[in-house]
Amino acid sequence: MEITAETSPNVTVVSISGTVDSGTAGALATSLREHAGNGGSHLVADLAGVDYMSSAGLRALLETVKEARQRGGDLRRAGVQPNVLRVLDLSGFTKILKVFPDVAAAAASFPA
């Protein structure tokens, strides 16, 4: 798994790629938790590069959604591969994470 984050004053875009499983989800959760404190807790997860996600990854995403919303922000998503989309959907996460057609649209969806 690789994580890169780009922070602008109003939003942090976290791009994740590779495998998100019980071995890597901890690092994802830590990274997301850090960023949830910045930019008004306005977070965008770009999942386009993720080719595998297990329930450990879902846990990291849910933890971040809760944390960000408690701070008045949110975690929104853009980009997802079909297999990972099915995992999100079967777990009720397509309802939890607001989706946008691309990273720019997700970033622009937050109030300035």
Partner: protein, 134 residues
């Protein structure tokens, strides 16, 4: 394959399942699904079955007759009752969703057949089956 339940083994098990599914002629989506089901089950063995005890032995065998793929997972951790694991409330708002509790739900979604057996002599055995041809 077999090993002890460390992150490295869990990663190797995923690769083993993906490879076995491809050899059996399953499409990529089916390989993804079985990888996920087996990964969830093996992660549970590491996290719950051997909780406190540290890494323990785990075995994974994949078989296919061209119509089904069956993966058998064996371990010596604590036994439990998979059929008692409650399904999650998928319609709940994020704020009310608990962290965790999705592993068995995903295992059920990704497989067509689940068999579990446990006794003190032979340990725990979980068989996950998936139909690959009609």
């Amino acid at each position: 394959m077999s090993g002890v339940t460390t992150p490295g083994t869990l990663e190797a098990i995923q690769a083993f399942v993906v490879d076995g599914c491809r050899r059996a002629g399953a499409d990529d989506a089916t390989g993804f699904d079985l990888r996920l089901a087996v990964d969830e089950a093996c992660t549970n063995v590491a996290m719950h079955g051997y909780a406190g005890a540290g890494p323990g032995p785990i075995g994974v065998v994949l078989e296919s007759d061209g119509t089904w793929i069956r993966v058998t997972i064996t371990d010596r951790g604590v036994s439990f009752r998979p059929e008692r694991v409650e399904p999650p409330d998928l319609a709940a708002e994020a704020e009310r969703r608990p962290l965790g509790g999705l592993g068995w739900h995903l295992i059920r979604q990704m497989t067509d057949e689940i068999e579990y057996h446990s006794d003190s002599d032979s340990g725990n055995r979980l068989v996950l089956g998936r139909r690959i041809k009609p």
